[in-house]
Amino acid sequence: MPVFEEILSRIQSDLSDSLLKSELYRGETTFYIKKQDIVSVCKKLKSDFGFNYLADVLGTDRFTDEDRFEVIYHLRNLTEAWFLRLVVLVDEKDLAVDTVSSVWKTANWEEREVFDMYGIKFNHHPDLRRMYMPQDFEYFPLRKEFPLIGIEGSIPLPAKE
């Protein structure tokens, strides 16, 4: 069985064109990937390195002027029990990432959730609707500017007879 550290350096050299930086914290490796390369990177990781399981896709709001949002992917290799995190930075001016639902079907709902909570669009997504909030809801609740108490009138109550 190959050691995970060897695999990581192999991934690093294979993906060097798409890799922005890598990070090791508390035993977890994070690769920052160029936004336009995410689908090809995921395809390569799945076919060449056996990352056949997408555990999670999530968004975060860094609340910065540049590259405000992050989309984070948690990948697993179920045979070797490897874990890898990919991060894509998304700028507020271009709120769109290519979908990875063609690589793993799990991404379908997970990306819908990210869209619902942060308003990040996923190009070529098969069914990009809101996951939890009502379809006509106007705001993106997990963005930092959205108040905890909610916005009055954003979900209208049924009218009284």
């Binding site: 555990a55 999530l58 799990t106 709902w109 909570m117």
Partner: protein
């Protein structure tokens, strides 16, 4: 001989249908050939909560299924960003409300990983025991309700009798029967008492015989087999691609269990099997959970005899709460308690993800810390949410009556799926 008739009105139709020898045709052809759309839920006894599914039917066959979630969305992740890590603990009880103890532990393990806190051995063993007990209790409720979905009410009463005993043990261990909130960052709220240990011992002594008696009732029960065998089939490759986890994934033949593959707590020091099957149908998913209950009992049995002596909470006042006796009687204790409540556990800046094997599958907490006492971002990877995603795949092509069985065999909990 069936006679063919044309109904003149709805009343006429209902009257005609009462006669089993009458064959009714509607305008537009055979009623079983026309497509119709059925709305199921969100308040439906068989959807295990507030799941809504819109089904497109061709006669009795489902051609398309669209699950709609969000009817129990309580914005847990938004709340977490505005609370300290300790304050968020009781919310996790309400995630997967079938097994609150494991959710507490999952959050604690993630925060401890982020903050680099080492938990004493004794606390880890007690956590492992309680997590397995929670798994049994969750599987008990699932078994009762899933068998009820196939039409048998009796077993629910049997499983709930056993679950009641587990509630009593949790009451002894934690002081609460259901929403326990017993785990603390860095340890536990209270130690295990000899009374709890003896209650646990007497429970696990009689419990396997109970499961065996239920197996006798179900394993070769013709009605149960007809309702589950071959129903809702999913193969290993598709299950992995869809992100199924827990017993649902193992029923399709993927031997993946976080307790074995990425050991946490004390799972690397106990002997247990990970049951797998290659059948991939509702019956396999049922049988995996039955076998898991035996394994859980065996894990508890092994650990009960070797609970090490020592403290159950780490002695590190900067990040772990002091005992109440210290808070009330020493100045330092009071200051530390005050500081922790006011500032909270402040993990270093960075991001961590920790997942446990809950009874539903991979329950993970992702924490992005900015160095303050509140998480900058806390994401819950809920197994029920991801498991439910396979529902359209499982339902399409199956019969209307199998819907409830397939939902039941997936074991979704909407509190967790909707967050």
């Amino acid at each position: 001989m069936p006679t063919e008739k044309q109904p003149k009105s709805t009343d006429d139709l209902l009257r005609l249908l009462e006669d089993e020898h009458t064959f009714v045709t509607l305008e537009g052809g055979d009623a079983l050939d026309t497509e119709m759309v059925i709305n199921m839920g969100p308040s439906h006894p068989a959807t295990h909560g507030v799941l809504r599914i819109v089904l497109k039917m061709n006669g009795e066959t489902i051609t398309q299924a669209i699950p709609e979630l969000g009817y129990l969305h309580r914005a847990m992740e938004k709340l977490a960003e505005n609370k300290s890590y300790h304050e968020f603990m009781p919310y996790t009880d309400r995630l997967d409300y079938m097994m609150p103890y494991s959710n507490n532990v999952a959050l604690c393990l993630a925060v401890e990983k982020a903050a680099g806190i080492t938990v004493p051995e004794r606390a880890q063993v007690i956590r492992t025991i309680a997590c397995e007990l929670a798994r049994i209790s969750s599987h008990l409720l699932w078994l009762g309700s899933m068998v009820m979905d196939t039409g048998a009410l009796t077993l629910f009463l049997h499983t709930f009798r056993e679950r009641e005993k587990i509630y009593d043990i949790f009451d002894l261990l934690t002081g609460a029967r259901f929403t326990v909130s017993h785990s603390r960052i860095g340890g536990l709220a209270s130690d295990i008492s000899p009374e709890t240990i003896s209650a646990l011992k007497s429970f696990i002594k009689q419990f396997p015989a109970q499961v065996q008696s239920w197996e006798k009732l179900l394993n070769r029960n013709k009605i149960f087999l007809q309702r589950t065998v071959g129903i809702g089939y999913i193969d290993a490759e598709m299950a992995t691609d869809m992100g199924l986890s827990g017993p649902n994934l193992r029923a399709s033949g993927v031997k993946w269990d976080l307790r074995k593959k990425v050991p946490y707590l004390k799972y690397d020091s106990v002997q247990f099997d990970v049951p797998t099957s290659t059948d991939g149908d509702s019956y396999a998913r049922y049988y995996m959970r039955i076998l898991e209950m035996y394994e859980s009992v065996s894990i508890i049995e092994q650990l009960l005899d070797r609970i090490p002596e020592g403290p159950v909470r780490a002695d590190y006042a900067k990040q772990v709460y002091p005992w109440k006796s210290e808070v009330y009687h020493t100045m330092e204790g009071l200051i530390h308690d005050f500081m922790l409540t006011d500032w909270g556990v402040c993990p270093d800046k960075g991001q961590v993800y920790h997942a446990i094997e809950s009874s539903k599958g991979e329950l993970g907490f992702f924490i992005q810390s900015d160095g303050t006492g509140h998480p900058w971002r806390l994401k819950i990877r809920s197994p029920s949410f991801v498991n439910l995603q396979s529902l359209p795949y499982l339902l399409e092509g199956s019969q209307m009556a199998d819907t409830v069985v397939i939902i039941g065999s997936l074991d979704p909990v909407m509190g967790e799926a909707d967050k």
